[in-house]
Subunit: 339 residues, 2 copies
Amino acid sequence: MGASLRDVALRAGVSVKTVSNVVNGYEHVTPTTRSKVEAALKELNYRPNLSARNLRRGKSGIIALALPELDSPYFAELARSVIRAAEERGYTVLIDQTDGRLERERHVLAGIRPQLVDGLIVSPLSVGREELAARTDNTPMVLLGETVFEGPADHVAIDNVAAAGIATEHLVALGRRRIAAIGVQPPDGQGTARLRLQGYLDALSTAGLPVDEDLIQQGATFHRADGIQAVKDLLSLPEPPDAVFCFNDLLALGAIRGAYEIGARVPDDIAIVGIDDIEDGRFSTPTLTTISPDKEQIARLSLEFLQSRIDGDRDAPPREVQADFRLMERESTGGRTAE
Amino acid sequence: MGASLRDVALRAGVSVKTVSNVVNGYEHVTPTTRSKVEAALKELNYRPNLSARNLRRGKSGIIALALPELDSPYFAELARSVIRAAEERGYTVLIDQTDGRLERERHVLAGIRPQLVDGLIVSPLSVGREELAARTDNTPMVLLGETVFEGPADHVAIDNVAAAGIATEHLVALGRRRIAAIGVQPPDGQGTARLRLQGYLDALSTAGLPVDEDLIQQGATFHRADGIQAVKDLLSLPEPPDAVFCFNDLLALGAIRGAYEIGARVPDDIAIVGIDDIEDGRFSTPTLTTISPDKEQIARLSLEFLQSRIDGDRDAPPREVQADFRLMERESTGGRTAE
DNA sequence: CTGAAAGCGCTTACAG
DNA sequence: CTGAAAGCGCTTACAG
């Protein structure tokens, strides 16, 4: 076992309180005492016991980040930013991978590790508004993503309807007229898909383009393989699309691959745009036009909100904030090669 | 504040010990007592205080995973596996991103969060063998990667010399004769790069091929942008290579992109192989031939080792284990399209 | 089967 | 400036 404050105190011939003062950088300690203590600290290789400190202080300096999967590039990049932002405030981050599964998300909300984490950042996929509101654990929480709005907690997300609208408008502006959507889900599916579909439909309507049901068939997930399949289906239609708006970058990268496999040229035969701005899309062939959400801002705001709740502001009404995003024009819609 | 065991005991009219027994699923509690306690637990919405429990038990159920960066696909995929493997054993995982920077790695080794984590899995890049050996914190640790061998701790990695050899041999077997390497670093650089270079040189030697210094110029990092630049430099040589072994998949994906940008065909003009088997390479155009390390096995072994140390086996000599890997033939060396 | 009590290692009023 | 002591919430021998 390691040495405790008490061991150090005994060794240095002072009280535990004095050692604690030195360890915690308390100002008013005489140089003599301080150096005695420091010597003892070093000799015994003292390490504070954080569980004891946390118990006493009533907080841990740990926050949990619950997201569907760490190996999906968008979430990996977001996690990076969250961890960095947390670090700047002295927090460390525990990761929970939910796979977007209801039971796992419930588990997170029910409070795994009660009183061990000071706060929780959750990106839910399956769990609904009601359940979120009914949660009994009262660890401060920030919600990410599009499942729940005006919810029972602070919420940070981009305006997905607007983002999808801008992506679609970009295709319209290029002169494309048969614009498909990949990533549509059943009406009871993910909120993200619903909002992005909305933005797509709005943009078509604004442009005076008809909605062709053949061009908005439903898909299963947001992964590459589905993008491949979907684009192949679309391109084998009697009247194939000349552009496709993919609800995320993985689908779009799959679509690029699918088009290649059946010999369609991107963007000549079909222009492709995604959402997320994951790194892969900056190096794919062709490079991917996409909507880039400001992930660092999302991370920063999440931590700011969490911190304010942790610091006591628990009863303020939930905040609803939209993060910035912008269109990145690249080769998949005719933009030029990255420099 | 939440209710404590004491509050619950008072409410249920029993002792703290009895409540603790119920909470911890202790067998021998009379049904009457149990239900009284359970009612009180529910009424007060009791949550155990994990800091207190950890303090008392002397362990936390938390392990830390320290790696260079979470948004590099290989590490993201590895992190996913580690988190899953940890979960199966009841551990949760804290992430430290070191960026491969010496000071950050030192900080990790010095024991951030002493006695809060039961164990540490570290993938070092900068820190050397001596420092690792001289560490004073005695939290059980497992080393990943190629920086340190026969080290002061259990170590899990693939046989990089062999892996690089097989990748290179594959190119030789295709009939390529001018095989370049991308990812080479200065002699004092990363261990990974050194070992992969070794495997490459061994394979050339076995095949009776000469080593051409022009084909093994040094690069800076293991990221896509460097792959682009390197392949362009190589292809503008008076005698360009007909194949290139990249020390990781990001470099290889960059190389694919770079070849495309200057109009070289892959694999016709230049065959490309990487190491890591990140998901992008299964969907890139062309898809990427690579060496696939068994990440789940690496994660599983890491946890197994860590667990045995945590469980008390601290003085056993450090274990050195090699994880499996295999060659995945894909389009970038002429393999067929993914089904 | 259940209770009273000690103690994990720390921080923090309270004295002096 | 420093000490003695209480207490954070839990688990665990020790009794009975």
